[in-house]
Amino acid sequence: MEQRLFEKFHEWYENRHQYAKEWKERTGGKVLGYFCTYAPEEIIYAAGVLPVRILGSHEAQSFTEPHIFAMFCPLCRDCLAQGLQGRYDYLNGIMIAQCCLHMRQAFTSWQKHIPQEYSYYLYMPHGIQTPRAYPYLRGELEDFKKSLEEWTGKKITNQDLDHAIAVYNENRRLMKQVYDFRKAKNPKLTGLEAMEMVVSSQMTDKEEHNQALKKLLKELPGRKLSRKTGTRLMVLGSEDDDVEFLKMVESLDATFVIEDHCTGSRYFWNEVIPQEDRLGAIAARYIDRPACPSKDWPKRTRLPHILKLAKDYNVEGTILIQQKFCDPHELDIPAIRSSLETNGIPTYFLEFDVTVPVGQFKTRVEAFLETFQLPTDLF
């Protein structure tokens, strides 16, 4: 029973390309690859296009060496490598909502070297804390909408947008309900299962994903995991869909009960608040979502958000992971560590590459977990 509940999400996660190809065949629709979760998927979905997130495969590669200087993060290189190897050859187009310099290079190199019928660079503002960002992004979304209409030959109506917003909000709500089960003393899902559930939603038709979530939510209350929960961990930092790492940590005496990743809670935490001006509502949702570090300034809004997550999910310790050379996270990690530790939550830092040294990391994580077993007063 334990295995079956999340099997659909696992399958989607593992067979993402097959899913998209079959979706295309089934619907006759177009598939648009996007590079960052600031992509306003609702508008793409309203155009009848399937948005799928472009992610890496965690394999060592050298395809990107001529295209991206090696001081940029492994994720951006891994993503581009997928394109250069033709693994996303079913995409009809690509788009990026402006994010870090790293991912933007994967996008521009993809644009230049991999043929596609459509590409779009959305100038998502970085200054998300200024009220000026709302009307600005609203206008940029208007341009994006027009561009999609020209590409698909389909007018995106208010009804289309309302439907997309409803489907996406439902997906967010359902995943949040699943996350509530991670608050329990003995969580009903592991961190790995949560990750595969969230990431699979970035690669599938949300209506279908919603059906799977509803089915899951019916069965989840009765689920009893035979594993021990152990230390309740939070994982923070750069994008993380490293299955081997999550599996390894949860094979020890620990469970990831929450995370702040764009492959996790940060992706779906807030909803579009419906208003007459649909694009304005969508713009507000993306501006107000839990911030990526590249946009979290001048104030550090991530700190109270992370502390709240830690409290709500009863976190005992945090593993901070950072993709090598990921400047935005490198710039936040010292402040996050300090904030968590001041609030009595121990942290442990690990630097990730496209693959991780699981054996070495296991020893290090074990040492971190041992600190939770020590008596607080030896004498």
Partner: protein
């Protein structure tokens, strides 16, 4: 050393440039003694805006400060270690770590204690800019900090909406400045600063275009000491006036065939910031009659260009020379925003192809024989897309080499290995 073909002489205005730079750093350090205000921010910040607070407002721009520290290897190492001890990764922007290190160590590169700014004012286009000053504010006891987001796309996609986004943020910034300084803002001073900035950046572009001449009147190593004034105080009258004087002198050098390097035989261009502690490499090239005439970096970081009627690059005509009279705060800010968006060194943030095209233009118009790309681990912003630039130049049949290093962290630069790489390139050019 190859034989001199051309006469050469030092610049007459060299000492004046040095004095201007020294005064800039001294004025910042001493501003508060005279009741003045000091602010810090990026070299690309809208420095004309705080000028409206008065004539006694002095700035410290972070990147040139970081480069100054880099030139002093011993101090730079201490700064890096201090930043690393606070938990900051060693692959972050090297200028930023030099700057933070100075705060942490409480040492000013120009002597004395670190002069704490009254407020921080910057722009954000590269991932590091806004975060740089977020951390700086925290390290300095949460001093007031304002950042204008300018990441609205390349100049060829500008629109009213994008300009309004920038202008409205600057309008908010002015109100914020009045609040944090308690001073009343003077729009006239802003307007003059905008005129100055347009004049400065146009003049620097004009100076750079004079390097199209053979022999080149200025070499890149010399230009590093001159363009820096624009990165310090592009909005100030003394900067524009100095560039006018420099322009006239360089014109005179062109008219009289006075070369920067007497044995000029081959012309190269570089890319991104140099490894500041190893500028001897630029002199090393000259041993073989090779002169670097500049780069998109030295030209377009400060210089504002436009395509002229004959299709070639020249200085962009400032608004005052187009008969535009600035009459209001909003108009001044809009002109400043629009002018700044056309900065050549901003375009690659959205597409490496825009940069490759500009590089190919420089190769052609400046008669460049080869390109030396610095894969700069110290600056992700200007190294962005550099591998694609290399491919594009190669495709265009332009001889290229790349060397890996770091503009501000000498621990990441291998001088001897770089010389070997340069030697091989010189052989390809036929210079060695």
């Amino acid at each position: 050393m190859t034989e001199n073909k051309y006469k050469t002489k030092p610049l007459d205005c060299w000492n004046e440039a040095k004095q201007l730079r020294k005064d800039y750093y001294d004025n910042f350090a001493r501003a508060q003694e005279k009741g003045g205000i000091r602010w810090a921010g990026g070299a690309w910040s809208f420095s004309a805006v705080p000028a409206g607070l008065g004539d006694d407002v002095y700035s410290l721009t972070g990147e040139p400060y970081g480069a100054t520290v880099a030139f002093n290897k011993e101090f730079a190492e201490k700064c890096h270690e201090a930043a690393e001890a606070k938990g900051y990764a060693r692959d972050l922007c090297a200028y930023m770590r030099n700057y933070w290190g100075s705060i942490i160590l409480n040492k000013y590169a120009w002597g004395g204690e670190w002069p704490k700014p009254d407020f921080l004012w910057t722009t954000h286009i590269c991932c590091s800019h806004a975060k740089w000053y977020q951390v700086a504010s925290e390290l300095e006891g949460n001093i007031p900090y304002f950042c204008v987001d300018v990441s609205v796309g390349p100049y060829n996609e500008r629109s009213e909406r994008k300009l309004n986004y920038m202008v409205s943020q600057m309008m908010d910034g002015i109100e914020w400045m009045e609040k944090v300084t308690g001073r009343k803002y003077d729009d006239e001073k802003l307007i003059q600063a905008v005129y100055n900035e347009c004049r400065t950046t146009s003049l620097w572009a004009e100076i750079c275009t004079l390097n199209k001449t053979i022999p080149t009147p200025l070499d890149e190593k010399t230009m590093y000491s001159l363009y820096v004034l624009g990165t310090l105080m592009k909005h100030r009258k003394e900067c524009a006036d100095f560039y006018e004087k420099l322009r006239d002198e360089v014109k005179d050098r062109v008219a009289n065939k006075i070369a920067a390097v007497g044995n000029e035989k081959f012309r190269v261009m570089t890319d991104t910031q140099p490894p500041w502690a190893f500028l001897e490499l630029w002199r090393y090239l000259q041993n073989y009659g090779v002169v670097s005439i500049g780069s998109l970096y030295t030209f377009g970081l400060i210089g504002i260009f436009e395509v002229k009627e004959d299709g070639i690059w020249g200085p962009r005509t400032p608004p005052q020379e187009q008969g535009i009279e600035i009459e209001s705060r909003e108009q001044a800010l809009k002109i400043l925003a629009e002018w700044t968006l056309s900065r050549p060194e901003w375009q690659h943030f959205y597409s490496p192809e825009l940069k490759s095209d500009m590089m190919k233009r420089i190769v052609k118009e400046w008669h460049v024989d080869g390109v030396m790309l610095h894969y700069n681990r110290g600056c992700e912003g200007l190294s962005m897309g550099i591998a694609e630039n290399k491919l594009a130049l190669k495709e265009a049949g332009i001889p290229i080499m790349h060397f890996e290093g770091n503009m501000g962290d000498e621990r990441e630069f291998d001088l001897e290995r770089t010389k070997v790489e340069i030697d091989a390139f010189l052989e390809i050019l036929g210079a060695k």
